[in-house]
Symmetry: C2
Subunit: 218 residues, 2 copies
DNA sequence: CAACGCTATGAACCATGGTTCATTTCTTTT
DNA sequence: AAAAGAAATGAACCATGGTTCATAGCGTTG
């Protein structure tokens, strides 16, 4: 017996591993998953290319872990709100606002998670991510229908519509120009949320947030 | 002077060109644009790989032309309806039904056009395609608002929401299972359309199709 | 500090798939 | 039918980018 990993080493290894993920995350934030090349990750993390393979069995494994890490943060926020105990329609409004609001703020990341062309492996992770979103929406809708707050509709379908409408309206080719979004983020988010709420039969009554215009743009 | 293309040859060339596009289209219908490999296209078209490059300057050029050809057929249908002279809300219903209905029937193709991960070049073509969709929706909405049929909303945003909701709810990971879609296509389409209409403030009044429920369960 | 084995290295390797080009085959003209 | 292009061929070529592996460097133990 001549070697056993010591705590100090274990810590250093963990740090390297984290550093690699950090580097990859930074690349995603800059240029999406398309910008994650093993050689670049290595360079950015300050290790050799080969080293990456001591921590991750393949590029796919690295990207999957990264995707999960990043996306679970997002889902966590929404799940938390969804699990609250208020009326369903209020939780719904808040979830939608949060979803849309975070997507606008972190557009780059949101693009990578929701809209960027990915290869099939990562598309699987994304599918899981989106399904979870839809589940969150559907759950709230069910609550609302059960207790009569909302009209009865097919919650799976409505949830999918919402999960499609919000990202499409905020990122990608159908979204407003980026600088326009920066200027009007709140108004745009509010308009999208309004659409989704109306879609499930909720009409937004005036509230605190609506210092923003209620004028109906032509 | 020793050669000048004769009509017969020109016709044969045109035929070969069309054959190449056909082969590529068939591959798209089977496995999306991912299945379009130059060698496969050549095999299917019954020509040599090199021959493809006598007709198309690159794979990109071939795919773009194909994308345009296929997508313009779809857009044509919608544009036609949109240009009609009936009330905006009726045109809207019909456009949405047509869009969704065709997407369900030609799911494979719809996937390739709307949802499949594509590389950047083709993503440009798709962006154009989707923008055109959104324009069609937006146009009708504007009409409806102008003449008071519809409440005033931001038509660009609503159009983007619709253009996102429909494909998401019909194809990809959030869509119902394929066999379920086959069984319930009409009901699913109707439900999605209902969501979108409600989103822009139209409530579907009972019509021929609406033997389906309108009850609002408590 | 010697021996052993874990960790890191990065240039070489390999797979994929688009593109080229020397050669052959086919058409047209005289 | 021979000359001169045009068209077709498909194997070789090349670019990209992920993965491997022989080697060097470090840490741990006795």
């Amino acid at each position: 017996m001549a070697y056993r990993q010591t705590d100090r080493v274990a810590a250093r290894l963990a740090e390297t591993r984290a550093g690699i993920l950090d580097a990859a995350r930074a690349l995603v934030a800059e240029g999406g998953f398309a910008a994650v090349q093993m050689s670049e990750v290595a360079r950015k993390a300050g290790v050799a290319t080969g080293t990456l393979y001591r921590y991750f069995s393949s590029k796919e494994a690295l990207c999957r872990e990264l995707f999960r890490e990043v996306s679970s943060r997002e889902m966590g926020k929404l799940a938390e709100i969804a699990a609250g105990h208020g009326p369903a329609s209020e939780r719904l409004v808040e979830v939608l606002r949060t979803f849309a609001g975070r997507a606008v703020k972190g557009r780059r990341l949101a693009y990578a998670l929701l809209a960027e062309p990915l290869d099939v492996n990562l598309a699987e992770e994304r599918a899981f991510f989106r399904r979870t979103h839809a589940d969150i929406f559907a759950r709230i809708l069910e609550d609302g229908i059960e207790n009569g707050e909302l009209p009865a509709i097919d919650v799976r379908i409505a949830a999918a519509c919402i999960a499609g409408a919000i990202p499409t309206a905020l990122i990608g080719p159908l979204a407003p120009q980026s600088h326009e979004l920066d200027r009007n983020a709140d108004r745009v988010v509010e308009e999208i949320v309004k659409f989704c709420l109306a879609g499930v039969g909720v009409t937004l009554t005036a509230r605190r947030e609506s210092n923003s215009e209620r004028r109906t743009v032509a």
